[in-house]
């Protein structure tokens, strides 16, 4: 009996050790013959390549480690924007698919069926190489909403120019802390004395008033910078000032959002449909209004069904953002596993670091979600 348990384990272990041993031995030999030393010292060397789009200061004289950071931040940027937009769109489409209105229902399912069945890479290529390339040149671009220009070189729009932004930011954080404690206080009051405060209105008020005060007392100042057309050469124009969003980022965000939203929409639909009719009827029969039924009975239960698969979609979106490499948006894969590897030739270290980074992001988000799921799970007896 015991032998039966030990033998398979031993064989598995032997198999793993053999494979790893074989690979490391070969890698060692290969690196010896090519005269490469395994190590991460190269990260401190000068990168000497430029990156088109960066959230932090960067130029060719910075180190590879800095280039890695630029790539990572760009990946996170597109992921965060994609997650926010796809959640909004996904919820709208998911609710629309449940609409009793035939037209809305069918339009939403057409959208879902269409976008989820076309490869994401193809969608990215479509937006980048076909749709966005049809936009006008900077000098011909019309003004949209009195502030922005959609051109073949990207979207140019207004940018906020802050004075003493840190004071304003601090005020925002303080406001959030106050709202947190106020909500705790209001909940206790309601449980103990049955007294209800207009929680949402007061929270909103705090959220607006405290940061607004900093404009008066904190020396915070906000102005807007508009993009202006500037002539570089006889036929070459560009925009100066304002906020320039490169077409790579727009195409990638569009494709990721439209693609992921279809999956989120399906999750939302399944979640809301998963709530039994009896729950809604019971809630209505104790006198809750339709909006209260939605807020207090349906949503809290539906969220339990919606959140786990939706987190998976967020993870997928983050991993899919690596397709950026195909349209030269400087994300982690393009900057680090692409350019940096070509220059240094350190395949094992660089692919290892890149994979480890994605693995860390994935594992930490799923660890957080497991914790969250446990917290909101129904405590069954």
């Amino acid at each position: 009996m015991k032998f039966k348990k030990i033998l398979p384990q031993f064989l598995t272990l032997l198999f793993i050790v053999l494979i790893f041993g074989f690979f490391t031995m070969n890698a060692q030999e290969n690196m010896d013959t090519r005269g490469i030393q395994f190590g991460f010292g190269f990260l401190k060397q000068e990168a000497s390549f430029d990156i088109q789009f960066s959230l932090i200061d960067y130029d060719g004289s910075r180190s590879y480690a800095r280039a890695y950071l630029v790539g990572l931040l760009n990946t996170l940027l597109v992921s965060v924007i994609g997650i926010i937009l796809s959640t909004i769109l996904g919820v709208i489409i998911g609710v629309a698919r449940l609409s009793p209105n035939y037209l809305i229902n069918k339009t939403a399912s057409f959208y879902v069926e269409f976008f989820r069945n076309v490869p994401l890479l193809l969608q990215i290529f479509f937006w980048y190489f076909a749709a966005l390339r049809a936009l006008p040149m900077p000098e011909d671009a019309p003004l949209i909403f009195g502030s922005s220009y959609m051109t073949i070189k990207g979207l140019y729009t207004i940018a906020p120019v802050w004075n003493n932004f840190d004071v304003f930011f601090g005020a925002l954080i303080i406001a959030m802390i106050i709202i947190f404690f106020f909500n705790k206080f209001a909940k206790r009051k309601q449980e103990e004395e049955g007294k209800q405060y207009p929680k949402f209105l007061i929270s909103l008020g705090i959220f607006i008033i405290i940061p607004a005060l900093t404009f008066i007392v904190g020396g915070v100042d906000l102005s807007w910078s508009f993009p202006e057309l500037k002539q570089l050469a006889k036929t070459s124009f560009t925009f100066e000032g304002g906020l320039g969003i490169p077409p790579e980022l727009i195409a990638l965000t569009l494709a990721l959002t439209l693609y992921t939203a279809t999956f989120i929409a399906e999750n939302v639909r399944a979640g809301i449909q998963g709530i039994g009719k009896g729950q809604k009827e019971a809630a209505a029969s104790i006198g809750l209004t339709p909006s209260q039924v939605l807020k207090l009975v349906v949503m809290p239960q539906a969220l339990r069904i919606i959140i786990p698969p939706t987190t998976n979609q967020y993870l997928n979106l983050t991993k899919n953002s690596s397709l950026a490499a195909a349209i030269a948006y400087p994300d982690l894969v393009l900057v680090f596993a692409g350019t940096a590897m070509m220059q240094t030739g350190r395949a094992i270290e660089i692919v290892g670091i890149t994979m480890a980074t994605y693995l860390t992001i994935s594992l930490s988000i799923s660890a957080f979600m497991n914790w969250y799921n446990k917290r909101i799970a129904i405590q069954e007896k």
Binding site: K5, L122, A131, S322, A325, V351, Y358
Partner: protein
């Protein structure tokens, strides 16, 4: 004519309301069409802001007028129930109708009316619409990549034979049905591999050798998806069983394997197979690009399949295990005869989703320099004779992928219904 109240349409003056409603609704649509496609604004005398919304307002009034409960006309009642329950719903319906007209008309123009179908060079495309001549000229390349034109019958023959073999399983006589799994899991992959090795790759029996670098287009998409699909399923099943095993070493090695592959993007896995993997092999050995790619995709998707199957295993009640054990079944018999058949039935939608994801991931193999359909499009797009037709190419590929994926998902829904058993 008794009291006509336009705010509350009722059954008594049914015909009047219907005529007026239809009139207003048509007026709204006509106004919109004239505005959009003929640049004439029939409501131009109104202030700009109101004139912009007139189609919506007219449509709304029209729908309001025909909202009559229990009118006795079946069609009208259906219409009211489905798109016209209240003002808000009516507004949404009108907006969607307008949006559809707004979107479909130019699309139709581009796709068919203004498009060019005949000709054999770029010069034939003079219309404002799509240039399908481009697709026609490049069709062979999009289907077969750089595979020599004269040899393409070999690819076709292989696909026809493999498809025939796949369909043959369907017509198995009843007494051989128990060998069906063996047929699909072992016999079919081996035969297909031999076919691809000897027929598509060639080099023997007087057939010209075609290196894998020249394979491409849609046929490559099929080859990669086919093998990855076939192999990722058994591996995923083993991993799922391993993850639920009592044996610590087996359990944790499966767990870390699954979590590793699920945590990294496919593109980095392909990078690894392209640049890192050769470093791990003894000097001088060379594994073909295509095989490396298939192995990478297989392992990657196997991890996802494993998680899906694990979900099915977990959903089975403990009683199934206990009952099978009490009959004296060992581990393998218990799983193969009792647990897996039930668990797999439960996870058909999940497995179908994984397979769909696999098919949609195949374009990524451009990373290692293999050009399937999407890769070929990008290559054709840069051809100096055919610049500026990327839109047609992507739309064409999108339609093909959509047909493949949509039919797969419909088929999986059918399977799900077929195997659904009540508990």
């Amino acid at each position: 004519m008794n009291n006509v109240n336009f705010l509350k349409p009722n059954k008594e003056n049914l015909n009047l309301y219907l005529v007026l409603g239809a009139l207003f609704f048509t007026l709204g649509i006509v106004d919109f069409c004239l505005n959009n496609f003929y640049k004439t604004n029939i409501t131009g005398f109104l202030p700009g802001f109101i004139s912009f919304f007139t189609p919506l307002i007219f449509g709304l009034i029209g729908l309001h007028l025909i909202r009559i409960e229990f009118s006795g006309i079946k069609l009208l009642d259906e219409l009211n129930k489905n798109i016209n329950t209240n003002n808000f719903n009516a507004a949404l319906s009108v907006s969607i109708i307008i949006l559809i007209i707004f979107g479909v008309a130019p699309l139709l123009n581009w796709f068919i009316l203004d498009a060019t179908f005949v000709g054999d060079s770029k010069e034939a495309c003079t219309g404002g619409g799509a240039c399908w001549v481009y697709i026609k000229t490049w069709f062979n390349r999009f289907m077969y990549g750089m595979y020599p034109n004269a040899e393409q019958w070999r690819v076709n023959a292989t696909f026809i034979i493999v498809l025939g073999l796949m369909a043959a399983g369907y017509f198995f006589p009843l007494r051989y049905k128990k060998y069906l799994t063996f047929y699909y899991v072992i016999f079919l992959p081996i035969i297909s591999f031999l076919l691809i090795y000897y027929l598509i790759s060639g080099g023997e029996f007087g057939l010209e050798w075609v290196e894998t670098g020249a394979w491409g287009g849609l046929s490559l998409t099929f080859i990669v998806s086919f093998f990855s699909l076939i192999f990722c399923f058994p591996i995923g099943m083993m991993l799922a069983l391993g993850r639920r095993s009592d044996l610590a070493v087996v359990k944790y090695s499966s767990l870390s394997f699954i979590e590793f592959w699920r945590g990294v993007p496919l593109i980095t896995v392909l990078f690894m197979s392209a640049v890192m993997f050769p470093m791990f092999l003894p000097d001088g050995t060379y594994v073909d690009k295509l095989i490396r790619v298939i192995v990478a995709i297989t392992l990657f998707e196997a991890a996802y399949t494993a998680e899906v199957i694990r979900g099915g295993l977990q959903a089975l009640p403990r009683g199934q295990y206990d009952a099978a054990k009490s009959l004296g079944m060992g581990y393998w018999r218990l799983h193969l005869l009792v647990i897996l058949p039930q668990a797999l039935k439960l996870v058909i939608p999940g497995i179908a989703n994984t397979f769909l994801a696999l098919v949609k991931d195949t374009p990524l193999i451009f990373v290692v320099g293999l050009l399937e359909l999407v890769g070929m499009l990008n290559l054709a797009k840069t051809n100096p004779k055919w610049l500026g037709f990327s839109m047609e190419g992507y739309v064409f590929a999108g339609i093909i992928f959509w047909i493949i994926c949509y039919s797969m998902s419909k088929y999986s829904q059918k399977l799900e219904l077929k195997f659904k058993t009540d508990r």
